[in-house]
Amino acid sequence: MKKVKSLVKRLLGRPVSEAAPVTVDICSQTHNGFVVIGWYFADRVSDVGLVDAENAKLDYDLTYIDRQDVVEHLGRPAKGFQLLSTTELALSDIKLAVTLFNGLSEYLPLALVNADQFAMPSGTAESEIEITEQDVRERASCHYAIVTDTHAFLSGWIADENDTISGQLVTKKGRNLGHIVKQLRVGRSDVQDVLGEKVKWLNGFLVLIELDDVKVPEGGEIFFSIQHASGKEQRVAVQEVYRAEKEPMANLKRLLNAWMPHIAEHLDAHTLFKPIIDVLYPLDKTTQAKRVDVGGRVAKPRASVVIPLYGRYDFMRYQLSHFDRYDAYADVEILYVVDDPRIEDKVKKLANTLSYSIKHPFSVVYLKENVGFGKANNIGVKQASSEHIVLLNSDVLPKDSSWLADMLALAQQPQAGIVGARLLYEDDTIQHDGMAPMTVAEYPGLFFNDHPKKGWPKHLVAVPEPEPVSKMALLTAACWVMKKALFEEVGGFAPEYILGDFEDSDMCLKVLAKGYTNYMDHGAELYHLERQSQNLVESGSWKHNVTILNAITFNRKWEKQLNHLVQSGDNHHG
């Protein structure tokens, strides 16, 4: 509520529309759904809610907000609201349902509005976890533990005097389960708001416990036993115990959502998460893959195109329509890898529909579990029957069919490593024309992947002549061509990046290390409808934190090479 009020304060003075019965001030994505904040005329509207495309009610929390500012401004009764929904639906499938006093309902499509103004509180700390009366009495709380066979991660707060916590994880009977090996104290304004300013700011804690050769009992109560400076011991009940391997994605969010790596102490403490992450995403994780061929297989393909699908799957219709249109693809194998069990049924249905309308054979590899971008591609490449592979994102659509032959010709040269393409947004501006290492102020010493000249009209970005080709160390895997043997020689994409990040630049550096040369084919144009902003500066979400962890992994592995690239300017754009 507090957060909402402060946001509303920021919105005061925004011009208000008098015509519409409902005004949406903010519509933004949260880490697990959407939030819609706005107000309505209380003499016209009786209620608001969220519905799906079929007008079926969604699950949401509705909070009313006093909007005296609107009442004063317009001289009419008005009521503010916040709708918070946990959902996997896309925003395009969600509508704002407005019930009017005349009995009619209106369903309004939603779009992102002032999304940048809604910085979701970085931790579960403030957004989801309430401070109960018992917490206030005990002046401490331990929200949850994420446990593995060897470790436990604890998140909570305590109004203590110490800078660091001493304590153990114990059973109800007081038996020791494990001891603290790493910890990080975290600022919690929500606790201060409830307990008063005298409570210190860094009252929150993130703690890594190493277990003493015992397992945390399933279903049993466990406690975080904390020693105060006075020598007094306080037992804080762990409210929820999550087995790490049971829900990797949910636990990853729980693990990282209170981490604020832009603070130096937090960044330094990154190893705190590693023992848990190693269990959430084991390096050797494999999964069952089932290949279904639609319309047979292409005999002796000139190239195999590998396209992972995650989340949105309708791109398949547009891509296959494109491949079906041009004869140039006649001897090209198309392999989709469905890295998302949630969409398996929908993909099957679409593949069935397309089996009548698409003449070109295609194959779909269904993975039993989500393994992430790199591993999904590794599995796809294993299925490829051509000597040349094309890695393509599902949201990439070629301009015409000319790119493939040009890129293949380059990739076939003996010393050629990876060949990348010029990728464009739908308005013919640059999305990718080669990558370069960049630093950002918040994370000194870490290199990230920059897309130089992103958003420039393409005619303002020169193409080398006479051949539209340049040497380029780092390339995006959204579209690239290489020999299958080379992909295998470097061991495929590295497994240590969580969810999918940096695998492409990592492989580029592996290929360079083997003595090959990577090329950028500026003449090969494809559209990349990059949907999610991959802007690093938007901090404050667990996804951002995953990127930071991956960046640390990437930089440790390639520190020397990255510095060399930057110093030599080899990777720079003209």
Partner: protein, 404 residues
């Protein structure tokens, strides 16, 4: 040209839109020329025993639907590529003339190409559906402003739930399937230019006016002494795009001396199915000018001559571009000059040829134009011009014969 298949998104007995009527007229023309024809009209999904096809008169009804109106993709690729494909293959036409993909799916062109690879595929454009998700109107969604060009980010502005990238995909998908069309036919230069600018190759575009059945011109209404050309008629759907509200506003602006003599007949229906705000607006305006306006309701084709005979001028006050409205052709053929808005297909077909134009969306300009039009000499001038009208029949025959 021995065998021609027509594909329409509706049977004119069941739905009397411009595209259905245009395809029907051409079908009748080719039959009269001795060409063996098969007319396939899309119908709703229900059919005997769930069969894909049924029959109405000599025509085949094709029971199918569109699944996704955004990408215009078929909900039943099996019906399109399987059943329709087999029917086409068995009939073995040398031309397939498509008059719409609506309700069937944009994949219909690929389906035809695959079934009868050697046949020429002709597609007649009727509005902007391929480039504008707003019912093909090229008018913005909320404010109904005229739109000159489909720019992805602007389309996203009309439909925030679809990203600019989605509109890019939509266009690419449509162009993939349009690539199977051998010749596009546009009934107006205006529409042709818009589509060429959008992405259809110029050498695949032919402008040919819609074919109308033969009719005899009707003599102008006889005037008694001192009488003027006071009778105006509106033919068409009553919806926000056709601009009846604008015409009623224009009448309300006329000086009482003229207004007391004028009569407007409204031949059209469907006000009851419109959105409440539009309905209220039109109802209010109708009350305001009830001394002038007669609501005549829907009419059948055979009632048109008698209804048109009653009027002096036909008014087309549309607020969208229009393509080549059948009403314009019919008015010209029956010998009635027109008053139309000065944009798009109306400007092309009326200005300097068949009557007067006024500043689009301006009730004042329309009122001024009506004042001019009542003068008998103005009427006589434009009426005389209508006699030079050339029928598109022979042009269509020549065009189709040139393909095979």
């Amino acid at each position: 040209m021995d065998k021609v298949v027509f594909i329409s998104h509706g049977h004119p007995d069941l739905s009397k839109g411009g595209a259905e009527v245009a395809s029907w007229n051409l079908y009748q023309l080719l039959k009269s020329e001795g060409v063996e024809c098969l007319y396939i009209a899309r119908a709703d999904e229900k059919s005997h025993g769930g069969s894909t096809f049924s029959q109405r008169g000599d025509e085949v009804l094709f029971h199918t639907k569109i699944q996704d109106w955004f990408s215009l993709s078929s909900g039943n690729t099996k019906a399109l590529f399987g059943d329709l494909g087999k029917l086409l293959k068995s009939f073995s036409p040398d031309i397939v003339h498509v008059h719409h993909y609506a309700h069937m799916g944009i994949e219909i062109f690929s389906a035809i190409r695959r079934a009868v690879p050697k046949a020429k595929i002709v597609f007649t454009l009727h509005e902007f559906m391929a480039m504008c998700f707003h019912n093909g109107q090229m008018v913005t969604k909320d404010k109904l402003k005229l739109c000159n060009k489909a720019v992805f980010s602007d389309c996203h502005g009309c439909f925030p739930q679809h990203s600019p990238g989605d509109f890019f995909l939509r266009k690419q998908y449509i162009l993939d399937h349009f690539s199977h069309v051998d010749q596009f036919v546009s009934p107006s230069e205006f529409l042709a230019e818009r589509y060429v600018e959008w992405g259809i190759p110029e050498d695949k575009m032919t402008v040919l006016e819609n074919v109308l059945p033969d009719v005899e011109p009707i003599a102008p209404r006889a005037l008694s002494d001192g009488d003027k050309r006071y009778r105006f008629a509106f033919f068409g759907q009553i919806n926000p795009y056709k601009g009846l509200d604008l015409l009623l506003q224009a009448i309300a602006l006329l000086p009482q001396a003229i207004r007391s003599k004028i009569r407007l007949d409204v031949h059209g229906a469907n006000l009851d199915v419109q959105q409440s705000s539009f309905k209220e607006k039109v109802t209010e305006l109708l009350e305001e000018v009830e001394d002038v306006v007669h609501l005549r309701g829907q009419y059948d084709a055979d009632q048109l001559p008698s209804r048109i005979a009653e009027c002096d001028w036909v008014v087309m006050p549309s607020i969208w571009w229009e393509n080549s409205p059948v009403v314009i052709q019919e008015a010209i053929r029956f010998g009635r000059p027109l008053i139309g808005a000065n944009i798009g297909g109306m400007k092309e077909k009326i200005e300097g040829k068949a009557g007067l134009t006024f500043e689009v969306r301006s009730a004042a300009s329309l009122a001024d134009t009506i004042k001019r039009a009542i003068e008998p000499d103005v009427f006589d001038h434009w009426h005389a011009k209508l006699e030079t009208y050339a029928c598109a029949k022979s042009a269509h025959l020549k065009f189709l014969r040139s393909l095979v």
